[in-house]
Each structure stands twice: as C-alpha cells, then as structure tokens.
C-alpha cells in the first residue's frame, strides 16, 4: 500500500501523517505544485495552515494543481483522508459536504477529546465498531462543522456522519456534535481531530491508527 501525503506551503502535520500512514505501508510526500499523484493508493491531506489560510481556511489550497489530481482520484473511488486543515480544504473543494467555521468560543482549542463512532461504512472506519469510543486530540481555531439542517438530515440518513464528539466533549460548537463526515460514496473522509497524533501509546492513545489500518486493508 502506498500513501501520498499532500504538502502545501503552511502544512505542518505532514511529517506526523507520513509517520502514521507509514505504519500501514509506504508513505511519501506530494508537493502541492505537482499535477500528478503518481502510483499512490491513498491520499492524505494533512493539517496545518495551507497558504497561510489568510482568506479562509482551505480557500486557496483548493486551487492548487495537486488538488485537481486529488479530485480526479477521489472521483475514481480512491481513498482520501482530510485531517483538520485537510478537512477544510476538502470541504472548500466540494469533495466533502459542509463547511468549517471559527470555533464557537473564538479560541484555539488543543486537547484530547472523546469521539463516538456513528457510521463505519467508509473504508477509513472499517476497523471501527458503531458506538465505539475513541480518544484522539484536536487542535484548531476553525473547527466548528456547519451545514444546513436539510443537508445534515440527508448526511445522517445516508450514514455520512462518521464520528461525533462524545456528550460534553464538543470543543468547537460543531452542529449535532459532528466531528467527521464522508462523501456519499464513503471514500473521502474528513475530520477535525488528528488521528495521526494518536498512533503511539507513548503519546496516550493508539485509536487514530485504526483509521489508517482500515483504509490500508481496503486498499490492499
């Protein structure tokens, strides 16, 4: 299995994403200015502050040459994981539904949170059980998931809400406690928590590794 990890100017979690994905296969960096993904089996759009996020998180990155290739790859059913800023980029690119707004508390939050698995129909959630609780850290200033009520109803009905913050754990005011969503096909998965920071017991949790393992098994 070969993972490609996208690097934009301003990305800052690409090394941890490489290390996490590298536990389940080969992982290599993909530069934002390149127009091709090469022979990767899965793509990770990592966290950070792409192009500085000065306009709106992910708004510029979605126009990078590599994102065209990522869109085509996702359209062919290729697995794509967006983490934090990567989630914002995928929403801006229209690969995932909804948008991420400034946290309800208007403060950057950095803490471990408990998540509940809502749906495991995506390959990234294939190793998770519905109702299972995960402990994964968040660190963001613009992580408040938003979508109109009719779209939220549709996402829930189709099983596109993959993870919710556990009761009392919502760190940013996300609607309906949503922490992760997928596209309709399930191959594109975005979340604000950082699974790449939860792959080694020395840092407190290995729950994040399950997302990489699930997708890697599907790719293999």
């Amino acid at each position: 299995v070969i993972w490609g990890v996208v690097q934009f100017p301003g990305s800052c979690d690409e090394r941890d994403a490489l290390a996490a994905a590298g536990r389940t296969g080969e992982a290599r960096l993909l530069w934002h200015g390149d127009g091709e993904l090469g022979d990767v089996d899965g793509v990770i759009v990592p966290g950070g502050f792409s192009y500085g996020d000065y306009l709106r998180a992910g708004a510029i990155a979605r126009f990078s040459p590599l994102m065209e290739a990522v869109s085509e790859f996702a359209g062919r059913g290729g697995p794509v994981l967006g983490i934090c800023n990567g989630f914002q980029v995928l929403c801006e690119a229209g690969l995932l539904p909804g948008a991420l707004l400034v946290n309800e508390g208007v403060r950057f939050v950095c803490r471990q949170v408990e998540l509940v698995v809502e749906s495991n129909r995506s390959p990234f959630a294939a190793e998770l059980q519905q109702g299972e609780r995960l402990s994964i850290p968040v660190k963001h200033g613009e992580g408040r998931y938003f979508a109109p009520d009719d779209l939220l109803d549709e996402l829930e009905a189709l099983g596109q809400v993959a993870l919710r913050y556990a009761p009392g754990q919502n760190p940013n005011g996300s609607v309906r406690d949503i922490a992760a969503v997928t596209n309709e096909a399930g191959n594109v998965f975005g979340l604000m928590p950082h699974p790449e920071h939860a792959v080694d017991g020395l840092t407190g949790s290995t729950d994040g590794l399950k997302l990489f393992e699930g997708a890697a098994k599907a790719m293999a």
């Binding site: 306009l55 709106r56 708004a59 801006e92 909804g98 948008a99 707004l101 938003f146 979508a147």
Partner: protein
Amino acid sequence: MVELEAESADDLPALCEKLLANPLIEDFEIETIE
C-alpha cells in the same frame, strides 16, 4: 470587506463566487466606486 482596484467590475461576481465567498456560509455584495 475587500477593496480592489480593477479595470472592470465584470469579473467580480465570478471572483467572489469562486474565491472570496463560500456560498454555504457567506454572502457577498459588490459596490463599485468610480
């Protein structure tokens, strides 16, 4: 608010739709000052 100097205002709606505004969470108005 974003202030731009432009030869023509014709391209501004497309610019706002593609780049400056996410229609899911934002709206925009264009005011032209000669």
